[in-house]
Amino acid sequence: MSETITYREAITRAMADEMESDDSVCLFGEDVGAAGGVFKATEGLYERFGARRVRDTPISEQAIIGTAIGAAAMGLRPLAEIMFADFAAVCFDGIANQLAKYRYMTGGQVSLPVTIRLANGAGSGFGAQHSQPVENWFLNHPGLKIVVPATPADAYALLRAAVRDPDPVLYFEHKSLFNVKGELRDSAPPAELGKAEIVRPGSAVTLVATQLMRHRAVEAADLLAAEDISVEVIDPRTLVPFDEATVFASVERTNRLVVAQEASAAGSWGATLVSRVVAERFESLDAPAAIVGGDEAPIAYAAPLEDLWLPSAERIADTVRRTVAY
């Protein structure tokens, strides 16, 4: 049996199920309590689990992250909400220098099962300081895991996995996907971090995409199917750990790689993946691996500009066409 729910509902349910099954799971952030969160993703949790387990914080992201770290070091499994992912910048030290390194610096004396939820990405007209695809900020910080769900089913299974994971996990919720609907199987188990999904099998080119871009990649694949171009769409679902094996195997079959990502290319996971495929499957590539991404510019407010900044299904399809025609 399964049920149709939204990405937002899947996130709320995952938190509820983990809090239900483990008293050491607690939730805090700005207005996550009675208000149910700015994106309404924590709605009902305060009523259900009470003020001890669900707490509003002051506007103090450094305190939020530090509290999560200390609590985790003592054995709790905190769910910390950072609202707009862009605000990771004000607690960057806590995430990058403390959370990511604390276990390592102490020779493994502490485990830090912290899950940080962040609302990610562009497409909603929030302007340059509330729209960034922030996942790339953390790629060069070993010690963190990075989860980027695109569907309600993944949002649910990956969030439960993140909470249970013994390591720090940055869990990105894409703002443009909160209302996307999908099927969720009853009593769906937690996912395994580091397992990609072949969203749509194909033979001519491997198209890797996450979050909002995954959906546009599928749209692009539909467009191209009409042109008899068979596209294999892969969603890695987690950037750290990254399921290279699935992508490598696909490229061995298709001999072509396109990455569709929201962010600009410099310092991105897409560029990293291309460099890995080139290093490990050079001979498999019959065409230049290509990245479709945002412009090397901040995200503008005006709808037409923001829409141009974000790769569209058409832009993705064009790059695939060029790669296949190469």
Binding site: D31, I59, S124, F126, G127, D295, L305, L308
Partner: protein, 323 residues
């Protein structure tokens, strides 16, 4: 405190009222636009807080600078930004203040000293120190006015900016608009002290807690603070007690407010208060009503103009990344 300054001439107070009317009606128009879904994203309105921004900005001189938050429409208009180009920015037009790249949360008009609206809590307080540092460095007597909210006093950047401004005796005026809420949280739920103004003591900084709905009080207080700043006597922290009539943002019905709270504050609506003062000073009811109608018309016309403007050209998104 020095002897009270001479009373503000009626014409000047009428000009304040005009500015407050324009801001009120500008915000009401924004409320409608967003409610109708004419605009994407979010907006943060300041109906009820007009006396703070107008009273404070009118105490400044040309050359002084002002920085504010995502709830900055009123502050930027009070500093002198044109109505139509401000609407234009919120509508994402090429002729908007920022060419449509900033939007509601980032209204900026450097030409009038509205140096920027910043949307990450606390981010602009250190920047306000920087503009003040520039005047100190150059030996000019320009001051830097910085608006922010009650909830913003709990973020790290607030502490660092206050401390630096105090130890360097920078000509900054920090104006905390205490509207009782940070998003949906009453300030008391996130802050262990009652009078935020007392945080100035952690920096041995001059302070004042005032009625933010009384434009004359705000004006006088900021004038004094500016005097200190220009004289090299350093920064001031002002807590202006006020209230936002609407929710936090477009999506907030503000159901968390206790019954009667809004109604009580509406009786202290800063526009009503100023109109009453002026009426008592002998200004005719007709003149006041006329002024209001005239402002609403001017705002409506500005919006109509702005709606006609073109969207930015596609290439524009790649411009202004670097100089």
């Amino acid at each position: 405190m020095p002897a009270a300054p001479p009373p503000v001439p009626l014409e000047e107070q009428l000009e304040w009222l005009r500015a407050m009317h324009e801001i009120r009606s500008f915000e009401d128009e924004c409320h409608r636009m967003f409610a109708q879904g004419l605009v994407r994203g979010s907006t943060h309105l300041c109906q009820g807080q007009e006396a703070v921004v107008v009273g404070a900005c009118r105490a400044l001189r040309d050359g002084d600078t002002m920085t504010c938050t995502y709830r900055g429409h009123g502050a930027v208009l009070a500093k002198g930004a044109p109505l139509d180009r401000s609407f234009g920015e919120i509508l994402g037009k090429a002729n908007g203040l920022c060419g449509g790249k900033g939007g509601s949360m980032h209204l900026t008009d450097v030409g009038v000293g509205a140096l920027g609206s910043f949307a990450v809590i606390g981010g602009h307080l250190p920047i306000a120190c920087g503009t003040a540092f520039a005047s100190q460095y150059r030996g000019t007597d320009e001051v830097s006015l910085c608006f922010f909210g009650d909830g913003s006093t709990n973020i790290g950047a607030f502490h660092e900016a206050m401390n630096l401004a105090a130890i360097w005796r920078l000509p900054v005026i920090f104006v905390c608009e205490n509207n009782l809420y940070g998003e949906y949280s009453p300030i008391a739920a996130t802050t262990p002290i009652e009078n935020l103004v007392d945080r100035a003591d952690s920096y041995a900084m001059a302070k004042a807690q005032i009625d933010g709905n009384d434009a004359a009080v705000v004006h006088r207080t900021v004038l004094e603070a500016a005097g200190r700043a220009r004289a090299g006597d350093g920064p001031t922290f002002i807590e202006a007690l006020t209230y936002r009539h609407k929710g936090h943002s477009r999506s907030d019905p503000a159901t968390y407010r206790p019954a009667g709270e809004l109604e009580a504050w509406l009786e202290r609506d800063p526009i009503l208060l100023l109109e009453r003062t002026l009426a008592e000073a002998g200004v005719a009811r007709e003149q006041l009503d006329g002024l209001r109608a005239e402002c609403e018309q001017r705002v409506a016309d500005a919006l109509a103009r702005a709606k006609e403007w073109d969207a930015p050209a596609p290439e524009a998104r790649l411009e202004d990344v670097y100089a």
